[in-house]
């Protein structure tokens, strides 16, 4: 206070110690937020460009994720078909049946075990050959085998896991004939792995491209305002004081951009993809695509915020150190 008073010449009206913005509620954080919002208002064009870039970039990533997640769901449904069947040439007594069922269930990776009697087997056989009754003439239940149908948990549907499971299964006394469609399982898993690798590669390139485009856009918008950084520095602003409003601005741009991308994605989904069952069927229940799960939506919002913040931080580092 004394310092302030001492500096006052006689010709200037004396000012008492000023209230500092950090004195009140919210302090500097409130000031930085105010500054960031004012900057957005005063630099509408560059902010629209940045937010638009983030929106479009994240919309592309979101669309990719939407397709990828639905493909994963479809693969999940298809993998339900990975089933191991144990055949018996006689009808098992209820006691033997329950002992075997217990032993099979005790193996790791089993999700469901069901016993198919000869009558059930005949019923299925008939339903498959419906309309070709002549083929069924003379076929009686006694000639068909009984079986246990075993479904595996998702984590045990890989080729190697299924093979290990079958080996363990054959160790159970009384089990001799086991079938699980080796070739189909192998091909299906190869296809899944290929699809995931392709997805990871495409997704990776897409994310790198998005980071590159967004960070360069932010860099250009900050470059266009380098005078502001210079003036702030000239009047004695610390590095943090200069950066804070820009970082908040980047955060706001990121959140607004990612929110807009989610809104646009939802619009596209509702307009075109929601009931696209006519030409694309990934999910047998809904026929069409499902929207992104909530955790993915949250992830995209977070990624947008992070993109805006980190993009601003790295750009500022370059200009302020220069």
């Amino acid at each position: 206070m004394n310092k302030w008073k001492k500096k006052q010449p006689a010709t200037i009206k004396s000012f008492k110690r000023p209230t500092l913005s950090g004195d009140g509620f919210g302090g500097r954080a409130g000031f930085f937020l105010f500054r960031a919002l004012t900057n957005i208002r005063q630099n509408v064009f560059v902010n629209v460009v940045t937010i638009g870039t983030i929106t479009l970039a994240l919309l592309i990533v979101s669309l990719f994720l939407l397709v990828f997640v639905n493909l994963e769901n479809a693969a999940e449904n298809w993998s339900e078909r990975v089933q191991v069947t144990v055949y018996f040439d006689k009808e098992l007594a209820p006691q033997d049946r329950s002992i075997l069922r217990e032993k099979i269930t005790a193996l790791s990776g089993v999700s469901r075990v069901s016993y198919v009697t000869r009558d059930e087997a005949l019923k299925r056989f008939k339903s498959r050959l419906r309309g070709q009754d002549t083929l069924l003439e003379g076929v009686r239940a006694e000639v068909l085998p009984t079986s246990f149908e075993i479904s595996l948990k998702r984590s045990h549907r890989e080729t190697a896991s299924v093979e290990n499971f079958v080996t363990d299964l054959k160790r159970i006394p009384g089990i001799t004939e086991v079938q699980y469609g080796e070739e189909w399982v192998r091909r299906f898993n190869s296809f899944l792995n290929f699809m995931r690798l392709l997805g990871a590669l495409l997704g990776g390139f897409l994310v790198i491209a998005v980071i590159f485009i967004v960070s360069n856009t932010i860099k250009l918008t900050i470059y266009s305002r380098r005078d502001e950084l210079e003036v702030m520095s000239l009047v004695g602003a610390t590095s943090f004081f200069i950066k804070a409003p820009f970082l908040l601005e980047g955060l706001i741009q990121g959140i607004v951009g990612s929110s807009l991308s989610i809104v646009l994605l939802f619009g596209l989904y509702e307009a075109f993809l929601h009931n696209a069952g006519g030409f694309i069927t990934f999910n047998p229940v809904t026929s069409g695509l499902n929207f992104l799960p909530l955790e993915y939506v949250g992830g995209i919002l977070f990624a947008g915020a992070l993109l805006g913040f980190i993009g601003s931080l790295t750009s500022l580092k370059r200009f302020i150190s220069a």
Binding site: I12, F15, V231, M232, L234, V235
Partner: protein, 230 residues
């Protein structure tokens, strides 16, 4: 107040912008730095507000060697130094008020005090009626007065000006010179780099001449016709 001891500055290994400069400027002094283009005037001013660091020598402001200061200390130092330029360096998309208030915002003043103090300095500069205009709508003279208001609003100990009248007509030059003199009367040390001979001659202030990065002449001018070569 300001002391330079054996200061040498080179932008590249073989070309020195300033060569073994020794200079003392006392508290409350008014000094003109002059010399042809490329003589080192701007470089010398940039050394004084910590925008450049010399390759050799010491720059003391108020007894503190600023060549050894951390960036955060340089920021604090700049709060007591006002700087104005030939091209004004105003934020074109902001109003006159906002351009001046930025200095006080950096100091952490509250909004009410910023409002009072900013309007006060704008009144002193004679541009209070334009407080709500964006600076790109002002004339050159008005823009320079906004830049001066921004530099003087926190009553700095030192005011540095780099060709402040370079873009102005005679009437505006006189107004700007008057503002410098008034700031000096209030106790601010003023250093003006210029090659405007008319401005120097009508001011009767100390003159330091630089040529090719060296101080070649220092003239103390208290009153007209009373020159004293140092």
């Amino acid at each position: 107040m300001i002391q330079l001891h054996n200061v040498t500055l080179a932008y590249q290994q073989d070309a020195s912008a300033l060569n073994n400069i020794n200079l003392k400027i006392g508290k409350g002094e008014f000094v003109f730095l002059t010399g042809p283009s490329g003589a080192g005037k701007t470089s010398l001013l940039r050394l004084l507000y910590g925008a450049l660091t010399p390759n050799r020598g010491q720059v003391l402001i108020d007894g503190q060697n600023i060549t050894r200061m951390a960036p955060s200390q340089i920021s604090l130092l700049r709060r007591s130094i006002g700087v104005v330029f030939q091209d004004f360096k105003l934020l074109q998309n902001r109003t006159v008020f906002e351009n001046v208030a930025i200095t006080l915002e950096v100091l952490g003043w509250g909004r009410a005090d910023i409002g009072k103090k900013t309007m006060h300095i704008l009144k002193q500069m004679g541009i209070e009626s334009k407080y709500n205009l964006v600076t790109q709508r002002l004339s050159g003279g008005e823009q320079q007065r906004v830049a001066l208001a921004r530099a003087l609003v926190n009553d700095p100990k030192i005011l540095l000006a780099d060709e402040p009248t370079g873009n102005l007509d005679d009437a505006n030059k006189n107004q700007i010179l008057t503002i410098f003199k008034e700031a000096n009367i209030r106790g601010t040390t003023v250093v003006v780099a210029t090659h405007d001979r008319r401005l120097i001659e009508q001011s009767h202030k100390r003159l330091v001449t630089l040529i090719k990065g060296e101080v070649v002449e220092q003239v103390e001018k208290e009153t007209a016709g009373d020159d004293k070569i140092l």
